[in-house]
Subunit: 424 residues, 2 copies
DNA sequence: ATGTGGGCCCTTAGCCGACAA
DNA sequence: TTGTCGGCTAAGGGCCCACAT
């Protein structure tokens, strides 16, 4: 009997028993073993590892939270190669945004490439319930967003791999502080102190490394076992590994791949999710008042199509006139993050026929740094942070803007889209 | 931009242009290249290769055929680990068998493991249309089943890999007749005649091999390039490779993996196909009179849940009393096939609550050879061939039968399930 | 503090014919 | 006819330090 490692990791349950072979292909001289059934570790460490792999910016709705679900975003994620659905596909009479209650959230990891993703169970709410919600406490509305991310583990590090790290020629050069923080101390009186490290990945697979302190000047290195890890995980320079030490000293390690075109949500989710299927599933759930499942990859692209209720409301309540300057975050390494800024150049519905009045990526923006051309030029109001008090740029000063047609005159505001008509 | 190789191969269209990297990981010294965009070959050779990989027993319905679709079988295939759906899932008021017209059939290959599968577009038919069908010509009813399988290519061979074939120690030992049949002739006057072979797989990826005739006694071998192919395709001893020579001499090669627990339909299809999703998609298609898609892996398990109309009718029209002896086919190697036989020991619906009166695997059987315990003990009427005129075994003679409870008294017959009530 | 490269050893991939089944 | 083995050679994995940034 086989157990799908895609479903071993779960923040809700303690069922970490599943073994399988976890992609460990080495047979005899194994520096990795899949002996995860003997793992006595609590699942909390996996939860922390999951969030570490997902990056510092990831925050997920908790069970019971109220969120806004955007079918458009869901469709985009599932078929990134064809931005627009075929003409004959209608919106199944679905609203562009659907208020839902989070009935469950699973933290998962792609068996093939270790990318983290989540599976949310969403229960559509009716308009009546929306009104009732207004009197509820804030927690259910997803206001405690910051609290969802677990406290950052003190003993963890994340390093972007260099060419030397991934080459077959040598091992892995461990940053000094990282080794001192996360690894058991070595006996520095010895000539070349070394020890064996054992770390588990998100699937519970054990990886063994020889940790040695040597060289002139002295440094921490991972030698034996490292190259196997690199090849098994298909790591290349630019990807990042992260180590994490739990309370009782046990090690976890995860990977955070560099942004590549294809490293988003795994095939296992994308395939067989065509437009019609997704829409019929959601439409069915709405009409039968039953929950449906949504898979979401936090590291794939900034496509938040499941947004905390309060965050959404806040983002559309404040006016965002054209020319508004804003900032937003992109994480780069360890726990640092790069801030990008830009200016709103237009407001229009992406697909006015199928999804009229949809807020999904309704803002046309221009980024300040041209190097970041990989960012979308269409973003959603809740993705940006317009609270920056910079002087709004004159639109005429930008040559690129002259190509744009006159944006329609519908600035976003809460009054234009009262709750009573927004949802369902 | 990336192209999903899962969808490159298609029997219907000529759109074989898609390149991608086809899982070819070797970088510089590549014995495989993904230069499939330059392929001038017609897609018919791919069709033949697909059928060769699928095995001699595979026959698929053609576009326009009328078939019977069984949701139960579809659900089984998608979640082979949990044989029964959770209690709260109903059948969505779907009938256990749904008459459909085949609107399209794509021949596909799993990008990860090269397993062949098909994607069928099925359009549910109404009862009225069923009645009208009775006067139609036989072709549309799927009677030309045998004709669907293309004429067997004369120049092809299939060899099950030995331990030596898959070892890193050596190359691939080519059966003599195979080499003479499929490969260009060598100059046997030379001491060690050799040549370079180039073959394309289902994804259009080129593989190059050094073909040499040497040794004492002389034999045909594939040396350089072979081990890369083995490792890239993850072949192990027991798997089979097959070579195929087209009319103009170009080579194709495919693989047929040994039956393993997990080699069925790829993850890309299985995942995210839970019971509720499938049923809501099908129910939606039935109610909106639109088509839906079904993925089916012919080599995974003998779970024919899309059955030609006539085949189904024939199978349930004839009485199958308990004790009936039957034969059935299982393919083993090349184009040979092993025949298995057994006896029908009971007839009952698998899931009487959700799918009453369903014919899906309603026969309990006992196989004659005990070694074949991997076969299902529950088969569908159309999977067996009861035309064998062996004396029916006395039920009491079997010790294993004593454990069975008395089977319900509902022998299968066409009159018990008239067409008018069977479908929708 | 740590990325890269040269030196060097030794494992392993991989081609060959000798055998044997 | 063809599966497996021992022999042999060459390629590269992988540990070490020097050096540079």
């Amino acid at each position: 009997m086989e157990i799908d490692l895609n479903h071993v990791v779960s923040s809700e349950l303690e069922k970490n028993g599943g073994g399988g072979n976890g992609g460990c292909l080495s047979s005899s001289n194994s520096s990795c073993s899949s002996n995860s059934s003997t793992s006595p570790a609590s699942s909390s460490i996996y939860k922390e590892l999951w969030y570490a792999c997902a990056g510092p910016l990831t925050s997920l709705p908790k069970k019971g939270n109220v969120v806004v679900y955007f079918p458009q975003g869901h469709l985009e994620q599932s078929a990134s190669h064809s931005p627009f659905p075929p003409m004959e596909v209608t919106s199944f009479d679905l609203h562009p945004q659907i208020l839902c209650k989070v009935m469950g959230a699973q933290l998962l990891a792609n068996k093939d490439n270790d990318e983290v993703y989540t599976k949310l169970a969403l229960l559509p709410l009716l308009e009546l319930e929306v009104i009732n919600l207004k009197g509820k406490e804030h927690e259910e509305l997803g206001l405690d967003e910051g609290g969802v991310t677990p406290n950052k583990t003190p003993h963890m590090f994340c390093k972007t791999l260099t060419a030397s790290d991934t080459s077959t020629h040598g091992g892995f050069s461990v940053p000094r502080r990282a080794a001192e923080d996360c690894f058991p101390p070595l006996d520095y009186k010895q000539q070349r102190p070394s020890q064996e490290l054992v770390a588990r990945d998100l699937h519970g697979v054990e990886w063994k490394f020889r940790h040695i302190y040597r060289g002139q000047p002295r440094r921490h290195l991972l030698t034996t076992g490292w190259s196997i890890f690199v090849s098994q995980k298909n790591l290349v320079s630019g990807d990042a590994v992260l180590f994490l030490r739990g309370e009782s000293g046990e090690l976890r390690l995860g990977i955070r791949r560099a942004v590549r075109p294809r490293n988003g949500l795994p095939d296992s989710i994308l395939a067989n999710q065509n437009y019609r299927n997704i829409l019929s599933i959601v439409a069915n759930a709405v009409s039968t008042k039953s929950s449906f499942h949504v898979s979401y990859s936090p590291r794939a692209s900034h496509a938040d199509f499941v947004v905390p209720y309060q965050k959404y409301i806040t983002s559309i309540t404040n006016q965002i006139p054209i020319g508004t300057r804003f900032k937003t975050k992109f994480d780069v390494d360890d726990s640092s993050e790069r801030r990008c800024s830009g200016v709103v150049t237009g407001i229009r519905a992406l697909d006015p026929y199928r999804w009229p009045n949809s807020k999904w990526r309704c803002l046309t923006v221009r980024w300040d740094e041209d190097g970041s051309s990989d960012h979308h030029e269409q973003v959603s109001p809740w993705e940006i942070d317009p609270s920056v008090s910079l002087p709004p740029l004159s639109i005429q000063s930008s040559p690129r803007l002259k190509k744009l047609r006159t944006p329609p005159n519908n600035p976003i505001s809460g009054t234009n889209f009262p709750l009573n008509s927004c949802f369902l």
